[in-house]
Symmetry: C2
Subunit: 105 residues, 2 copies
């Protein structure tokens, strides 16, 4: 069964301390066994037009759709998501089974 | 050194056969050793508002920024990118060193 990825591309409101948000995310995923991996980043190349105003990318990986659903339905996620949404100016969210064309060798 | 990810969130023009595009991408990455992994997907949950019109996600992983640069500068990439851009209605591109908060155990 394909791994499922939860992708969030975000732009935060002005004045938001992203480090604080990341701290909250780190605490959240550390307690949630169904989150298989979690990575984030900010664009390094700086083609601003191609970023369309977004500044941060967050990618979580789950073993399957059931694990993603149990993450979404977890009370800790519900607590966090309110905080997260309050600091967002804009966000793009994608949840998809990852089709692997080339796997790390 | 952090892995570098090349993320493309895309919406294709009407009538575009995405399978053809994927075939081209698959051929492209199969010949390019500097592409460490390549995955793609389409949204499974269907919160259309959160997708903002985008339909497909493509994620390539490279060992470092030099490998990403050599991919971008490769003639095969240049050939492909013209085809790719011609079928896109909209795309969001992010290139970022992946900060790993939680690694697969």
């Amino acid at each position: 069964m394909a791994e499922v990825k939860h992708l969030v591309v975000a732009k935060f409101k002005e004045g938001v301390v992203v480090e604080e948000i990341l701290k909250g995310m780190t605490e959240l995923v550390s307690t949630m066994d169904m989150v298989k991996s979690f990575e984030w980043g900010t664009d390094m190349i700086g083609e601003e037009m191609l970023r369309q105003g977004f500044t941060h990318v967050f990618i979580m990986t789950f073993n399957n759709g059931e694990d993603l659903a149990s993450y979404f339905n977890h009370p800790s996620h519900n607590d966090f998501i309110g905080t997260f949404q309050a600091v967002l100016e804009n966000a793009l969210v994608f949840d998809f089974p990852a089709v692997v064309i080339k796997a790390p060798s």
